[in-house]
Every structure is written in structure tokens, then in C-alpha cells.
Symmetry: C2
Subunit: 278 residues, 2 copies
């Protein structure tokens, strides 16, 4: 999905909500555990109940990898289901935080983007910047695909290295600045945590036009209003993720219905934000 299509999708759905599929078998409704593939069944129900409210889904790879090859099958079924059932209707993000030397990142890119090889075809993948240009560029060799580079993350440990350096020249600013030589706002986004809302002002000085993937609204304490105040652009420029608050809204038979209610709360708030801004 290219930038124009993404923007069109956002304004058509009046939403910039991404739902994080951090699907944990110890947290999903217990009645699903008797299914052959509980993680997939859970994801399918969540997706079916929210696809008109969310513009993106973001499976978090760790939650599948902890079940090994079987988990990768659940993941593969999930991305295939989205692509086959809602073609052109959802942006898909492989939240995998990959990055390695060039020949290795090339293989990770195949895993995320090359369906004949891996069975998976995501629109975007999250990438860690520590290893620099040649660890990032192989992901950019797929036309129409995106990387979402970690800049300023939503966790406590973000302070350990991302703020390393001097005032106005910290590591995350260097990552934002330097990485713009590797791609454009047509194929690169950045992760900026919602609990760093006031930092979005600093981020927007460096990347005024790039889309930002903003995790941390909800369970991690970030405020959607604050994020929009500092991060919204004329093209929206934001994809705001919520995971636990939506997918675990209820542990019972009504889990999908309750997930829809939570997603709708955010979508309604986003609709207002988009209307007020335009």
C-alpha cells in the first residue's frame, strides 16, 4: 500500500487506529483454547469485529515465536486472512524489530514481504537502527513496502540510549536525521511512543512529513489527544496503535464485541481529531 492509498484509507475510515495483535494464549478467552489454532481464531474474530474501525493491524512477532513453528503458522494464517478478506482495506505491520548485516536483513525482508518464499506479505516491518544503513536498506528494496524505524520508543529503557548525546543532538535525533538519506516519506516511517507526546514537537522538526507509528496509547499510558496535538499533519501522518486495551477488553464470549466497543471509542475520538484539523 503506497502513501496516497494509506492517506485515502485514513480519511475514508476516519481513523488512524492500528490494532496490535499481541495474542497471548494465557489471556485470550479460554473457550478458544479447544480450537485447532486458538491464536488465529482469536485474531480472526478481532479483525472481523474491528476492520471498519482500524486502518492497520500489527501482529507482534514475539507472541507467536514463543510457540515456535506452530506460532509462525498462526501468524502466517493471520496475515493471509487479512490480505485475502480485506484487500486494500488494511495496512499490515510486521512488528518484528529486525535488523542485521546486509545479507541477513535481505533474508528478513524476504520473510516479511516475499509471499512465495515465506507465505507472508506485510506492508511494513519495524526495524531497529543500531546496525546502521546496510542493516536497513535491504528492506527498502521492495517497491510499495515500508520500514518503520525505531526512533523514540514507549518503554522506560528508551531513556538509556535513545537520549544519549548532547541537548538537541541526541541519538534518536541522529537516527531521524541520518536515516532520511536512506529512504523517503513514501517508504519510511518512525516509531515514536505516545508517552513521549511532548517529544513529538522535536520529532516533527526533523521529520515534518513522515508517518509516525505511535504505540503506547492505553495500557502504556499515552494520551491520544496529546499525540494528535503535537504529531498530526495535514495528511494525518499518524498511525496510533492500541493492543491490550482493545484485544483483551473482555475475557468472555463477548470478547470481540467488547473489542469493537473499545476500538470504536478510539475511532470516534480520531474522527473528531481529523475533522477539527481539516
Amino acid at each position: 500500500m503506497n502513501r496516497n492509498e494509506l492517506i485515502e484509507l485514513i480519511f475514508r475510515k476516519r481513523s488512524f487506529l492500528c490494532i496490535g495483535l499481541d495474542t497471548d494464549l494465557s489471556k485470550i478467552p479460554q473457550h478458544l483454547l479447544s480450537c485447532e489454532d486458538p491464536a488465529f481464531e482469536f485474531n480472526k474474530s478481532i479483525i472481523d469485529a474491528t476492520h471498519d474501525l482500524a486502518i492497520a493491524y500489527k501482529p507482534n512477532f514475539a507472541f507467536y515465536e514463543c510457540y515456535g513453528a506452530k506460532g509462525w503458522e498462526s501468524l502466517t494464517r493471520t496475515i493471509r486472512y487479512i490480505n485475502e478478506t480485506f484487500p486494500g482495506e488494511t495496512f499490515t505491520i510486521a512488528d518484528a524489530k529486525r535488523g542485521d548485516i546486509g545479507n541477513t536483513s535481505q533474508q528478513y525482508a524476504r520473510a516479511m514481504f516475499d509471499e512465495p518464499s515465506s507465505g507472508m506479505n506485510f506492508d511494513a516491518v519495524t526495524v531497529a537502527p543500531y546496525m546502521g544503513e546496510d542493516s536497513v536498506k535491504p528492506f527498502l528494496s521492495y517497491p510499495g513496502k515500508w520500514i518503520i524505524l525505531l526512533a523514540l520508543t514507549s518503554n522506560k529503557g528508551a531513556a538509556d540510549f535513545q537520549f544519549f548525546g548532547e541537548q538537541d543532538h541526541r541519538l534518536f535525533e541522529q537516527v531521524l536525521t541520518q536515516s532520511q538519506q536512506w529512504g523517503s516519506n513514501e517508504n519510511m516511517m518512525y516509531v515514536v511512543g505516545a508517552n513521549q507526546a511532548e517529544m513529538l514537537l522535536e520529532v516533527r522538526k526533523i521529520v515534518p512529513g513522515h508517518f509516525l507509528l505511535v504505540p503506547g496509547v492505553g495500557a502504556q499510558g499515552g494520551s491520544l489527544r496529546e499525540v494528535a496535538k503535537y504529531g498530526l499533519t495535514k495528511d494525518c501522518g499518524l498511525i496510533v496503535n492500541s493492543s491490550r486495551n482493545i484485544i483483551y477488553a473482555s475475557p468472555g464470549l463477548d470478547f470481540a464485541e467488547k473489542a469493537r466497543e473499545e476500538a470504536m471509542k478510539l475511532q470516534k475520538e480520531m474522527e473528531l481529531i481529523l475533522i477539527q484539523r481539516s
Copy 2:
């Protein structure tokens, strides 16, 4: 495998060689492609031919993930084969470069260390430091397991961010310094590229006693002598990886035999280094 066992293994085998299983189906001998699981058959042959010369194996996850769930099965078979066939005889490294917020790193740790859950039981996992303490610590909650934190990598892009900062206070130095509060030399190692051999002097000032995983000898141009000159400690303190030079030594039926020859060249050189130093 704990530190004492690792050191004992190194001096018993007179080797600090790690063989990187970057198993690429387009590079392995073509006659293997008719097997049900070519990647596993290749790995098994390489391991059988080199297990007395190498102290560690390091499957590179990207080369399996590019084949999706099927690739994860090859990976799982490989680690199981090593653990079942050579118990206590090899140190195993999940070269996966993972790292995410705490609850997510916890799931990645399960993938690498919790065999009942994922089917895999590695001794160590490579971890990217960008997201800081809480992205790293969950991996350290498994007794007897190790993390290998990226410090100074072997690729060109290492220069982009790892040297960010001021002289004597660059990002990789900050990573080395700060991360020592999170674990000890009993459960943490660092990646330092072989082509950064002279930098090992700087690294050793900060982490005199930690093991270093050193990739980049061979295909990436690093010199074993240089690495040993600057990085060796009384406990050895080094695990030197070679991948392509060994596993692709021959494209023919004799691939395992030729891999053994290449591994033996390095082991003999390592034996001399260990003798000269002790």
C-alpha cells in the same frame, strides 16, 4: 551452559570457534534439495563433520524465517539435533538480534529458551540494545542462559550510530558501560566485529572479563590473529564466528568434508593461540 563449563569446553577442544549456520537454500549443494528438509540435512552434515572442532553453533534466524513456518521447523530440528546428539559439548547461539518492550522481550525469551513452549532451547541469544534495560533484562531471567548484546558490529553501517557521541564516550562505549548494571560476565557477552580488531583494546578497557562474540573473520575480512592479539583473556574470553567460509567451502558432494577442512584450519590456529597465551 555456564561460564565455567564454557571455558572448560574451549580448553578441552582447544578451540573458540563458532560456526554460523547461515543456511541459504540457493547456496547449499543442489543434491540436498530433494530431501524433505534440505536446510536441516545440510546443517546436520555440517555439525556432524565439525562438532569436535567447534565449540558453538549459531543459526542465523533470518535464513530460516525467509521460508516462514517451514523455516522455523528446520531451525527447531537443528537446535534439537545439536542438544540431543552432543549434550554439553556445544554452546548454541540464537542469532536473532531481538529486543522490544519488556512484556514482548519476555515472549522472545520464551521462544529462545523455553523448550516446552517453543520447541527450542538455546544457550544464548543475540540482543539489540536500542530499547534499553527493560528490553534486555527479560532474557536474563533464565538461569544458565546468556544474552549477547550488540556493541560494535562488523558491518559498514556500524559507523552510523555505534560511534555516535564524543571521543571516548561513544554509543558503543555507553552500551558496554551501562549494560554491565543489568547482568554479569556470567550471563552477558557482547558482539564485537573482527574487522574492528584494534577497537578490541577500547572494548577490553570497559569489559575486561566478558566473553565477546566476534563475527567477521573470513568472508567479512577480519583476522583471527588480530582479534586474539587484542581480545584474548586468560579465560580465552572470545568466541570467534565463521559462517560462509566454512559452510560453503564446497558446493559439491564433499561439502561437509571441505567444511571440516576449513574449520580445522581455524581450530589449529586457535589451538596455537591458546597454547602461546597460556
